[in-house]
Symmetry: C2
Subunit: 396 residues, 2 copies
């Protein structure tokens, strides 16, 4: 059942979970009947997700849970182009990875990679465009609010171990360039379509080649059978079904690198001279309570959410119940899974009946704080504005 | 397809996962066709599990994953008696918990408990009888090998917060006694059937009342809508669908407490004068490689598994490739989720073709080590023998 109240649409029928709404000032267009999960994602929990399209599936704000780790069946999906066939995950150990730009270039099977080391890496996976819905310039692209993000544990082999096995990178290499194994549509220039991303070689330090997610073999939905995972960087840089890992002098010539995922001024096209969307900034948001359509009982209320530091750990978290006028410190709850993971936070408050604007604001270990306002850019990337992420709740 | 080789039965048809076998000296009886998952557990991954019965479901040795946290769809189930109806998890917030033996006894709904605090607790959940299969005395009860265990994150309210809200425990109370909400069969003395367990009040320190598991609302399978979770203690003490939490002077009069779950000498019945099965000891085992029916490629091999400390953190882990004659230190891999969780460990070795007996041995932060031999007892509880947990592999 869909109810439209002054431009804010609430999705019903979710049992005990909070409804996802486009919180804050931005209203979403009235939504048609919910789209079904695509075949490769049918194993996911449809009640926890908003299917924007077959390749863009968002976690509902009430479906992150409070256990720090986002369950895989609730984890968002974003594919830049259609995934390869599900056949590629039938025999994951047989998948091959070519390694280039190194002293001894060669290919490895996943079976071979499994003999070269083991690392389990908790980290925030987040789409570059998470929070795009709040840009007043209405950038094209999926209108994610908070749900193109999750905190998960990837397991695989450290890139460093693979690099060591091939004698190190060749002289003069400054980028780590990863190529995805998608099928190229006929009749198009591959460079316009391929998912190939470059990151500075410094990013290899903590990067892994992952074959497992949250204890299960990595699904096609999340980039199986093998994905390079670059912690602290936005999701596009963690190339799915990676088939080639190269150390290079230049950034990839692919469109997705040259002009895609660039920080362009509003109204301007992406250019290779602009900053590439790489490192994530500090960010936080409140998950519970978060739905104005579900009144909260007056009295003691526990406000909870998640806080991330980006390239370094979240250090402090503050909460406001009056739209950012006054702030109080909140507490981290549960385990610290390291610098690249997020923390769960909570604050108990006493609320009388009324309407409240709840906000959260985090600072990381490098002293960087979430700003009040978003950094305007043409494609609506990297929104970590605390004001945009506010939620309005009714207490009765 | 089932193949029987000299008394060791390998279960086939699991795609890329290792087959579960009764590793070590003990052979299992030839198994009939795999039983289906019971209704309340149909959401689980049948390929990852061995269904011993509708109330005893074991994780296969190859299905723990290496990501530290055991995915819920692979997590074991053990119910002492049939679970209540699935109806009880339809409106989890409406479930009530009675609190007694305190200054101000009263009931709370789960909705009320959610306003009283938030804690996320990573911990090992393990059945008292995990490892029973290796007792030569052949104790009655499920012949678990390693798979009645997992490491998960429960989320809920600290028991301490609830205790504070009711004015503290009454004078002279020494146990925390929890009663499960199962239906009592007609015509039987409830004391003979009820699941009511007592633990020392010291255990309340880190205990929580949980409504969430691994980021999802707690399922009936794992004790939803509310379970008391006592970290460091065996699973029976974390009473499912808890309806009453009482602070008491005596241990519960229920049979499951008085004579059940007691450390009785072989051949003797359980008596209330014997130690109750409470705190878990240090323990570890190897998960990969672990199947003699799946030859391992000669050369470099990564041996991995899990290590837990019991009431305190796992501190060191050693691995032997020759049945315990020689030991070498292995490394912990991935996050440290605190004293009650387990650690993933790994060791890379070079193996020539042949047959090997792999063993692991852990020591906790209190200096307690896994013993070579099991502590004999009539019901096959608390097996942490490193020798029993050895695996035989073939390298070719």
């Amino acid at each position: 059942m869909l109810a439209s109240t002054g431009g804010v649409v609430a999705l019903a029928g979710l049992g005990g979970m909070n409804r996802a709404t486009a919180a804050g000032a931005q209203a979403t267009a009235a939504a048609p009947a919910a789209k079904p999960l695509p075949e490769y994602a049918k194993w996911k929990n449809a009640d926890a997700l908003i299917v924007h399209s077959a390749n863009t599936i968002e976690t509902k704000r009430g479906a992150f849970g409070s256990s720090v780790i986002t369950p895989s069946e609730h984890l968002f999906v974003r594919n830049n182009i259609a995934p390869p066939s599900l056949d590629i995950v039938k025999d994951p150990d047989a998948w091959t990875l070519e390694v280039a730009g190194v002293a001894r270039p060669r290919s490895f099977t996943v079976a071979e990679l499994k003999t070269m080391g083991l690392a389990a890496l908790p980290m925030v996976l987040q789409c570059s465009g998470n929070g795009r819905a709040w840009f007043p310039s209405k950038p094209s692209g999926t209108q994610w609010t908070v749900g193109a993000a999750g905190c998960v544990i990837f397991t695989g082999v450290p890139v460093k171990a693979v690099l060591e096995a091939v004698g190190g990178m060749s002289e003069g290499m400054v980028y780590m360039t990863s190529t995805g194994g998608e099928d190229m549509p006929a009749g198009l220039d591959p460079k316009d379509v391929m998912v190939e991303r470059s990151v500075p070689v410094s990013a290899l330090e903590d990067a892994i080649l992952a074959w497992e997610l949250n204890g299960q073999p990595l699904s096609l939905a999340h980039g199986g059978p093998l994905r390079i995972v670059v912690p602290g960087y936005t999701g596009v840089n963690s190339v799915k079904y990676i088939k080639r890992l190269a150390f290079t002098k230049e950034q990839s010539p692919a469109k997705i690198q040259q002009t895609g995922y660039r920080l362009a001024p509003v109204g301007a096209k992406g250019e290779s001279t602009q900053a590439s969307i790489w490192e994530m900034p500090p960010k936080s948001w409140i998950n519970t309570p978060s739905d104005p359509a579900q009144p909260v009982k007056a009295g003691r209320v526990v406000i909870s959410g998640v806080a991330m530091g980006g390239m370094t750990a979240a250090k402090t978290i503050e909460v406001s119940i009056n739209g950012g006028k006054d702030w109080q410190p909140a507490q981290f709850v549960g385990p610290d899974l390291g610098r690249y993971a997020w923390r769960e936070f909570a604050l108990a408050v006493q609320l009388e009946p009324g309407t409240y604007q709840l906000a959260s604001r985090s600072t990381n270990a490098a002293g960087e704080s979430q700003p009040e306002e978003r950094m305007e850019n043409n494609r609506g990337y990297l929104n970590n504005s605390w004001r945009d992420h506010m939620v309005t709740i009714k207490v009765a």
